[in-house]
Amino acid sequence: MSIAAFAARRLGRGVLTVWFAVTVTFLLLRLLPGDPALAVSSPTQTEATRALLLTQYGLDKPLVEQYLLYLAQLLQGNLGTSFTQSVPVLDVLLVRLPWTVLLTFSALVLTVLVGVPLGVLAASRRGGFLDKAVQVFGVTGQSLFVPSIGVLLLFVAGLELRWAPIGGAYSEGTYGGQWYLSVLHHLVLPCLSLTLVQLGSYVLTLRATLVDALADDYVVLARANGLSERRILWKHALRNALLPATTLIGLQLGFLVGGAVLTETVFAYPGVGRGIYEAVTQLDFPVLQGAFLMLALTVVLANTVTDLVYGWLDPRVKAS
């Protein structure tokens, strides 16, 4: 396949994915019960006002017409206007997106930084006590209920020890370098709890593939050639083992960006996940549609990058 055809296929897949997400959201919002006009107005509102609001929102039109209008607007890059905030959806989302990106990326980086040594450790001592300890630690982290661990962290590190601030993404009234320090300081606890939860699957995947790789022919060959065990582990086997682990990260990204709702709630972090939850409670259709569109785009981007990194890491592809 030529590179152009590959790119075209990728692009087609991406567009299809985004269309699918957008359509599912659109239909779910309109086919499930829930009336946005009731969500925004006070209970003393009359029926006429409600009808007027529905007309303003364009929800009085037939479903098909609404859908086509929505797609047409989307193609022109118009995500619509928030029902409740009277401002463009893009503005609503762009205020929150940076914080989610910061939180998820820092958690991913930390996961890899901690996960690689742990995975290597477990694989090199497979069957031993350390291996089991790493496995149990990983699975335990994965099985924790985020809000409970979040409140515990806040109580211990925030209130009792005063190591970390409680809630928010930065302190009000800090500027310049102070501000960046404040951002880092506020990031510590939410990042830690996210990392704890996702570390397990990364370490376990890495461990399993490392164990497989260590039994491969070329490792046996390398051993026979007298290469040190440490060099084999870190250089040759790890390179192969990183592949599935990388795929996993790509898969996780989509989960993470939207899935940090509970983390963001407990740590009062101003990200997209919490924004989605609030839009659900307000039945703000345009914001929800916009948010799901963005999440789908993130997934597409992540998958593309993962595929490319995969090709770059895979020695077999390189060798050919």
Binding site: F145, P147, Q252, F255, Y277
Partner: protein, 301 residues
């Protein structure tokens, strides 16, 4: 709520030999499994939890609608303490176990049945497989948790909603995993041979394909169930759980909305421990099961 579970839990399961050897393979797997202390401990813990879910509610009476001893710390009178309405937390946890296990079991059962069916049929019928693979990929790329929140909020919180929502967003994962396994099997010689012998496709699928993917299914059940526990608890925590029956998530939600998660730590601790115990033991069991089937990953025995 939960990150996608590791591929490793499902990876590396060798293709089972055709029907006849299955029982022998099962016995040897069990022998290998029994040699793993961690796996056995997890299995015992899991068994205990299921026992509590099944028998607990007969032993411990249902939580009253209110009591006089409000927010009593754990002690002699109340082993797990009482909540803001004076209800016994132990009773809530025990009755919550049944609901939580039920949601997990029902959601994973639906997801497994649907997921496996789609995967196996897809693998067996090539033209369908292309469709299946696209649909699965598309569904997998949806942001699951926000969608679960959306559907649960709009459809109205109840145990049924919870089960269906979790199942609806779990089956594609199952399909993906089972499909790759099924594709290998369908390509094998004995299935081709079977195709020559009979035109009864259902028979072939039932006789050869399904048994071969059973190990993957067994592990999928555990993985999907434990994810269902976390998802259900998370939804309940956001106020989207069933308000009329006790679940671990509901205990946590009530502690949260009463602002009592810190001051009445026992309201947070016990249901969280229950969640941890169930998910942890289920995942460890599936890892141990895999190691038992495929000794290479377990390391020198």
């Amino acid at each position: 709520m939960s990150a996608p579970l590791p591929e490793v839990v499902l990876g590396g399961v060798p293709v089972a030999p055709p029907a006849g050897g299955a029982r022998r393979a099962g016995a040897s797997t069990w022998r290998a499994y029994r040699r793993q202390p961690l796996g056995m401990a997890a299995l015992v813990l899991l068994g205990l939890l299921v026992l509590v879910a099944v028998a607990g509610p007969w032993v411990v009476p249902a939580p009253a609608s209110y009591g006089t001893d409000v927010l009593v710390a754990p002690g002699a009178g109340y082993l797990f303490g009482t909540d803001a309405l004076g209800r016994d937390v132990l009773a809530e946890v025990v009755h919550g176990t049944r609901q939580s296990v039920l949601v997990a079991a029902a959601a994973s059962a639906i997801a497994i049945v649907v997921g496996t069916l789609v995967a196996v049929v897809g693998a067996y019928v090539p033209w369908l497989d292309a469709v299946v693979s696209v649909v699965v990929d598309l569904t997998l790329s949806l942001p699951v948790l926000p969608l679960m929140i959306l559907v649960a909020a709009l459809a109205g919180p109840s145990t049924t909603t919870l089960v269906l929502v979790v199942a609806a967003f779990s089956w594609p994962e199952v399909t993906r995993l089972v499909r790759s396994q099924a594709l290998t099997v369908v390509g094998l010689a004995y299935v081709d041979a079977a195709r020559l012998m009979t035109r009864d496709h259902a028979w072939i699928i039932g006789r050869h394909v399904v048994p071969a993917v059973t190990p993957v299914i067994v592990v999928s059940v555990v993985v999907t169930a434990s994810r269902a526990v976390l998802s259900a608890a998370g939804l309940a925590f956001l106020g989207l759980g069933d308000p009329t029956s006790w679940s671990w998530g509901r205990i946590l939600y009530e502690a949260q909305s009463a602002g009592a998660m810190v001051s009445a730590w026992w309201l947070t601790l016990f249901p969280s421990l229950a969640i941890l115990a169930l998910v942890l033991s289920a995942t460890l069991v599936s890892i141990a099961y895999n190691d038992a089937r495929n000794p290479r990953t377990a390391g020198p025995a």
